[in-house]
């Protein structure tokens, strides 16, 4: 996707402060950070929202986010980290490409990422509970990583012994 800012960063069209890269994900320092050490982590595959990302890739993203947050913790002297995924425009997603924000926190840093809790009555809560219970019954097995098909031709090539040893020939003759 040529319009997507993050895809352009991966291709190298847009300059960015890269922090970590491998074949599935890409992590960079945010150019407009919320705090010192604000990392943006996203998958290389162009996916607009979290629901479209395949299960093994979601799992991989979270484990990389975990490791990155420990790295940031150690090297920049933080007292906490926030990991936020803004899924959808109403959640504040600005670019149509899934990304995770890893934000370093220190005491009294002035960042307010908390919400005002609302007081809902019992009826609303119990109706919601029932609705969600029904819906979550459909959460079944999760996708596993697809194993790449093994090339049988390649296997045969490996088996050919280079330089037939006369001793091996002897062994093969033995019934």
């Amino acid at each position: 996707m040529t319009d997507c800012q993050y895809c352009q960063i991966i291709q190298g069209i847009v300059k960015a402060k890269k922090v970590y890269e491998d074949d599935k994900v890409y992590a960079l320092l945010s150019p407009m950070p919320a705090s010192l050490g604000h990392i943006i982590l996203f998958p290389k595959e162009h996916v607009p929202i979290l629901e479209h990302v395949k299960d093994p890739l979601v799992a991989y993203l979270f484990s990389i986010a975990n490791k990155l947050s420990t790295a940031v913790f150690d090297s920049l002297g933080a007292q906490g980290t926030n990991i936020i995924i803004q899924n959808g425009i109403s959640a504040g997603q600005r670019v149509a490409h899934v990304c995770m924000h890893i934000i370093l926190r220190r005491e009294n840093d002035g960042l307010n990422l908390m919400w005002q809790p609302k007081q809902l009555n019992e009826e609303q809560m119990s109706t919601v509970e029932l609705q969600l219970k029904e819906a979550t019954n459909s959460i079944g097995e999760f996708e596993k990583e697809e194993k790449k098909p093994i090339d049988l031709d390649k296997k045969k090539e490996v088996k050919e012994v280079k330089g037939d040893n006369y001793l091996l020939r002897q062994l093969r003759k033995i019934p």
Partner: protein, 293 residues
């Protein structure tokens, strides 16, 4: 009296073994009690590893909390396969919220540590359904930062990340400083980057034994000859208190040879005699024989 009680509690906690600590945490953790069924809650989903409930003080209707059944305080402590399972369940729950409430989006929020807003000692993932222009907040602010600060942070982070992931890092290429005329001066918000926390240097320890005169590094062949039962492993100061001296492997200097004693002189003389017989017959001795003396 509360401070006394607290002091007594802290002493108790220090003395407890890790298993006792875990049980203590479980007793005092309200979420562990909810998972065990001792406290009432609005359960929405559960399986063998995770547990999802409705938040009592929600940001929005349908605010879910996803907890691991085991008591983990923060994210780095969680084993990888459990974290991966939690990630997949998070995605599935977010999908169900979108379907049930017909909202435009969800926010997934994790707080690691008190400074990040973690209120309970049990790790949890918040899944909050969001509508446009709702009064939840949770907007990530954007601040300006100078290029130099960014590069400093990048270098530090890349070094640590390469260590953690085991990547042999390439030295970051320093981009040429481009001097562009800035229309508006961007005031950097972050003026002081805190220094990386200094690690306390661990004192090096060396090997010796009771009978030995010197102490060695572990790779020294003399150290490898000491049987394991007799090994003493200590820092330089303590070994010097015992009267041990350093080996050349520790100091890197050659020990000067001892002064020649009487024994060595005799040995040298013997050697010189032997050399003469090897080279050839000594004519003096032969002449004496013939002359009859």
């Amino acid at each position: 009296m509360a401070s006394d009680e607290q002091a007594a509690l802290q002493e108790k906690i220090k003395k407890m073994s890790p298993e006792e600590l875990r049980e203590y945490q479980k007793k005092n953790c309200i979420f562990c009690q909810i998972i065990a069924g001792k406290v009432a809650s609005k359960k929405v989903y559960s399986d063998d590893k995770v547990f999802a409930i409705l938040d009592i003080n929600p940001a929005n209707l349908g605010h879910l909390l996803l907890l691991p059944k085991e008591h983990y305080a923060i994210m780095p402590v969680i084993p990888e396969h459990e974290l991966e399972h939690m990630a997949m369940v998070t995605k599935a729950l977010s999908h169900t919220l979108l379907k049930v409430f017909q909202v435009g989006g969800t926010t997934i929020f994790i707080a690691n540590g008190m400074a990040a807003g973690q209120k309970a000692q049990h790790f949890m993932i918040h899944i909050i359904p969001r509508k446009e222009n709702d009064d939840v907040g949770l907007m990530i602010p954007q601040n300006n930062i100078s290029e130099q600060d960014l590069t400093v942070i990048q270098q530090r982070l890349v070094a640590r990340i390469n260590e953690l992931f085991g990547i042999k890092g390439e030295a970051l290429k320093q981009e040429p400083k481009e001097q562009k005329p800035m229309a508006e001066e961007k005031k950097p918000v972050f003026q002081n980057i805190p220094e990386s926390p200094q690690k306390t240097p661990v004192p090096e320890k060396f090997i010796t034994s009771k009978k030995a005169k010197r102490f060695h590094r572990s790779k020294c062949p003399f150290a490898q000859n000491i049987p394991k039962e007799e090994c003493i492993y200590d820092t330089i100061e303590e070994l010097e208190k015992r009267g041990k001296k350093p080996c050349t492997c520790v100091t890197g200097k050659k020990i000067p040879l001892k002064k020649e004693t009487g024994k060595q002189k005799i040995v040298e003389a013997e050697f010189s005699e032997k050399k003469q017989t090897e080279e050839g017959i000594n004519l003096d001795d032969v002449s004496k024989l013939f002359l009859g003396k």
